[in-house]
Symmetry: C2
Subunit: 218 residues, 2 copies
């Protein structure tokens, strides 16, 4: 009964022409935007239809059901999130670079008025208990995001800037959690302050792990 696999399901996708791809893209983009601010359950297919100027049959021509559309939205939001931070994520190799990334994340959130929180976080919160396939996709998404952070921290470690017991993977996971928690509180309070504070505290935790002629602590 239960589909155990969360891996790429071999759906036989119909061939898409240029026009078809454009329409499909329009649908996913609109659905992503709507879901970002209204949630999955709060976004009806008719809403998507209205925004995109498409018909019901088009939605079901490109997606087998609503869950499939949501799956495409998950994928898209991951790409968007990573792309928006790409520059800062690529050059992560020092505390200064980490702070530039922090500023970027804060700026992005301020730009949207703290609305919607993290697109991935919102999807995770809503789908984790109801859609196993989407949950698997989100786990993968968070993991690649974390991996990008890990890569930068690892450079710092290999340079000998970190104390031995500091694991880049662990630090990156903590950093990602700080982003998610900060964005959730920012969304709730409609202020970027919680995000700034959360990131600064996590960054302070990382800095305390830096080898600068003797880290604090015993």
């Amino acid at each position: 009964m239960v589909r155990m696999s969360g891996e790429a399901v071999p759906v036989a996708e119909p061939v898409l022409t240029a026009r078809g791809r454009a329409t499909r893209e329009r649908i996913v983009a609109a659905a992503a935007a709507l879901i970002h601010q209204r949630g999955v359950a709060g976004t009806s297919l008719d809403d998507v239809r209205a925004v995109t100027g498409t018909s019901k049959s088009q939605l079901y021509h490109y997606f087998s059901d609503k869950a499939a559309l949501v799956g495409a939205v998950v994928e898209r939001q991951l790409q968007q999130v990573l792309q928006a931070q790409q520059a800062e994520l690529d050059g992560l190799d020092s505390m200064a670079a980490l702070r530039r990334w922090r500023d970027r994340v804060v700026a992005l959130n301020r730009q949207v008025g703290c609305v919607g929180g993290c697109p991935l976080g919102r999807l995770a919160s809503e789908l984790a208990e109801s859609d196993p396939v989407a949950r698997a996709g989100l786990v993968g998404g968070f993991d690649t995001w974390r991996e990008r952070l890990t890569a930068g921290l690892r450079v710092m470690q290999e340079r000998g800037e970190m104390v031995g017991d500091a694991d880049p993977d662990t630090l990156a996971l903590g950093l990602l959690a700080a982003v998610q928690g900060g964005l959730l509180l920012a969304q709730t309070t409609r202020s970027v302050t919680p995000l700034e504070v959360a990131l600064d505290l996590a960054l302070a935790g990382i800095e305390s792990r830096l080898a600068r002629g003797g880290p604090p602590g015993r």
Copy 2:
């Protein structure tokens, strides 16, 4: 059209007998549990009705509409969350005490199998954009929670264990964000590790703010 006020609306509550109070409580408890794992939109009034063995008219006898019931759930979840941590929250006055609190939060999450994340966080994520009244309630809820953390950190500061520029309010907010982010990732990955890591990183950040050499006379 738009209700600007987010303050306690003076709803004229009907007098409740003991039986009435019990029924109302049963409804709120069941709704809270259902919403915790299915979300607000994913929980229908018929679901609540089925679990509690009540009728439609009872639901609307005790609550003016679904939003009112959700409001009661928000209130209840805040009480539950604070009560579950009460012992550890009361004695917050040292890094050791913070770690006991950390262990408590982790244990609570492990106990429920990382399901549902933080009840307040889940509600916040879902209601922040759609229900201004609920959002205001959640802001208040997070604030009292944070205040409890602040109180402990302030004790540490007044004892002179903290460096001067460390603001207990700010550190507590960062800690709360770590809890929320950690719980969200724990819920998504079905593992307590992200929560542990997030809290440890935030705690490391706080510890780095402690006055070196330890408190005088201790």
